[in-house]
């Protein structure tokens, strides 16, 4: 499908266009993000053209890879591979027909290939019929309002040329293919196939958040959701080497998967066993999980300060497990001085899993891994913790001394 007839990529963004005076800032960040993501991909130029971002590509551009990259960049609502032509209607007519013919030929080849791959001939035959392009519609757009023809006129003229030179018929309500003829400031772009992006806002436009990444299913999804809203995520993982000496591969590959959405990511791994020992020695089993998590926020706050992050992300979902009852969330979140964002708070487990599958973190999350939160906790932990009791129990803990020693050694890894 991705032949080298394409020489441009047209990128559309939706939410950014509502940003009024701040719009140029969002556009600038998006372009600079795209540049970072395309670091290993060959292309000629990237620039803004009206309300679009244009990438000029060449014969050496890996189109599949480019598609994969653009599909995951927050802020892009959709994009097209396009061919360009000078802004001359004659030439545009010719180019449209040429492009269309090639596209139809490629499309039929693909259908044929799929049919051959398919064991069930009957099914593939009907697919064949369905996939065939028979009708079309021209959809003209004019970013360049000075162009000599108006949209309805462009529609009529280009449509006529397609009718004359191909076997396609017009269907304005439900066409098999909608051909966009987009008159930009520099060129006219012709494209058909819309590829959906993830939308939202460019990473970094919202500032930084520290995400508490456990290695489970939920926290990567939560991190993704905040990236999609423009936050740059710094990851913090707490690890207890007494129960988990399997290395950091799992956490690192989760961060790597998530870096598809935000580019290079920082990961801090904090050894947690000494904190946990201190807690186990002095806190009854049923309250340990709550205090583990309160201490985690205290430590994460040290990272947040260093990173100038403005809050935390967690994978909490209301009442999913004992530490996520309203009482317990209240007590746990109380230990943080920065706001905590749990974007999955109202989601069901299955909804979270579906999203985890979609962003491809699920298969990593389900690998065996001993989560430090479950270290020596009661079988039936407290579900209705009272802040006053917890704070009183914490008075016996000597966390600061341990924190000072351990946190001084912590260095982030860039993934």
């Amino acid at each position: 499908m991705y032949t080298h007839i394409y020489n441009h990529i047209i990128i559309h963004y939706d939410e950014i266009t509502l940003k009024g005076g701040n719009r140029p800032f969002f556009e600038r960040v998006l372009i600079s993000n795209i540049k970072e993501f395309l670091e290993n991909i060959k292309y000629d130029k990237i620039y803004k053209d009206g309300g679009k971002i244009i990438i000029e590509i060449n014969k050496n551009t890996d189109l599949e890879k480019t598609k994969e990259v653009l599909e995951n960049i927050p802020g892009i609502s959709n994009f097209y591979f396009a061919v360009s032509e000078k802004k001359d209607l004659e030439k545009i007519n010719k180019k449209t027909v040429e492009f269309l013919r090639l596209y139809i030929k490629e499309n039929e080849k693909t259908i044929l290939r799929q049919a051959q791959d398919d064991d069930n001939v009957m099914v593939s035959l009907s697919n064949h019929q369905n996939g065939k392009i028979k009708t079309f519609k021209i959809e003209a757009r004019r970013s360049d309002k000075k162009f000599e023809f108006k949209s309805p006129e462009i529609n009529a003229r280009v449509g006529e040329s397609v009718l004359e030179n191909t076997e396609l018929k017009v269907n304005v309500h439900n066409p098999d293919i909608e051909i966009v003829v987009d008159i930009g400031h520099k060129y006219c772009y012709i494209y058909f196939e819309k590829i959906k992006g993830i939308g939202g806002l460019p990473v970094g436009t919202a500032g930084k958040l520290v995400s508490l990444l456990s290695g489970g299913i939920d926290s990567p999804v939560a991190s993704y959701m905040m990236m999609k809203r423009g936050a740059k995520i710094v990851f913090v993982h707490f690890k207890n080497k007494i129960i988990n000496n399997t290395g950091d591969d799992k956490i690192k590959s989760l961060v790597k998967k998530l870096s598809r959405f935000q580019g290079r990511s920082k990961l801090y791994i904090i050894p947690f066993e000494e904190f946990q020992k201190e807690i186990i020695a002095k806190i009854p089993a049923k309250n340990r999980m709550i205090i583990y998590r309160r201490i985690m926020f205290e430590l994460a706050e040290m990272i947040a300060k260093k990173e100038k992050a403005k809050g935390f992300v967690t994978g909490d979902s209301l009442s999913q497990v004992a530490s996520q009852t309203l009482d317990n969330i209240g007590v746990i979140y109380n230990s943080a001085n920065l706001p905590i964002f749990p974007p999955l708070i109202g989601m069901n487990k299955q909804e979270i899993i579906d999203l985890a599958v979609k962003i491809k973190t699920y298969e990593i999350s389900i690998l065996p891994y001993q989560d430090c939160c479950s270290f020596l906790i009661a079988k039936h932990p407290e579900t209705k913790a009272k802040l006053r009791d917890i704070i009183k129990q914490e008075e016996n803990l000597k966390i600061d001394e341990i924190a000072e020693r351990i946190m001084a050694e912590i260095k982030p890894e860039v993934i």
Partner: protein, 392 residues
Amino acid sequence: MKKIYLDYAATTPTDEEVLNEMMPYFSQKFGNPSSIHQFGQEAAEAIDKARKQVADFLGCNSSEIIFTSGATESNNMTIKGIIKASNIKNPHIITSSIEHHCVLNSCKAVEKEGSEVTYLKVNGNGLVSVKDFKKAIKENTILISIMYANNEVGTIEPIAEMGEMLKKINSEREKNKLPKIYFHIDAVQAVNYLDCNVDNLGVDLLSISGHKIYGPKGVGALYVRQGTKIKSIQQGGEQEYNLRAGTHNVPGIVGLGKTISLVSKNRKKIEEIKKLRDYFIAEILKNIPDTRLNGSKEFRLPHNANISFKGIEGESLLIMLDQEGIAVSTGSACSSPSLEPSHVLMAMGISPELSHSSIRFTLGKDATKENIDFVLKVLVEKVKKLREISGI
């Protein structure tokens, strides 16, 4: 900080004498004992010697000793291998509810494959009753597996009495053409302290482990009485009379042989350890209120003290003691990091709360009164502190 290790039931340091014996077999005498050349034969001779040392200790023939990777493997091999070799449709096994997890989980595994298992109850001291033992026997019983001494509470089971009785039962069964019942004991915790002569005990199979008796980790043995029908559960070469495929752990086996030959020498110290242990228990019960000794006073390994400290969580105390350099254990070391009350204490009828409050102290041959007094002092202090801060 002074470090005091009171967890000898979890593992022991390898004796220097044992280590010296092992050393040449890593790099100098490295041959594979299955090789015919001189390198191989040198290693094969070392294994023969070790096998003889183990056999002498158990009072059996060398050909009845199978070297394994440890007691977990020996116990798996017994339960699965005896079942595999039996031609009964639904073989029945008898074991106790306080066995090590490698026995209990092997039993659960064969249960899933159609075997029947009876888990004998124990009394409040952790003792299996010989009467229950006899009553549980059925026509399709082919194996009884009981631990010689329990790893958590140190209770010593009446093995010789059971063995004697089983001998009579088996000769009756022979007349009635019923399958022979094999008697297996897990003697891991017993080797250092108790008579392990297989004929005195009347056992057909017996598991031992190197690292519990001042030897190396990763090596153990299974005694299999001549004529016992057992099949290997692991395929490969023909090592260990076709029962245990895999290249021999030569240094480990050499170490096991040496360490077991030293057991009788170390036994002179048992009285001393026992005296210290008794003093330790008496002082705790006297000086710390709301404490109780778990397990039998009479039938107990001489180095074990298992105490419940009411109102305290075992692992809290464990970590507080660790912060003072004192190593002890709650339940057995192999258990998961999650908090499950000990299955042994629960089987003895002790409440989950009190089980959760228990600590196992196991003394070693380096125990001194000075160390014990230090531990007692810290213990009094820490228990008091924990009772003050804990809400329960």
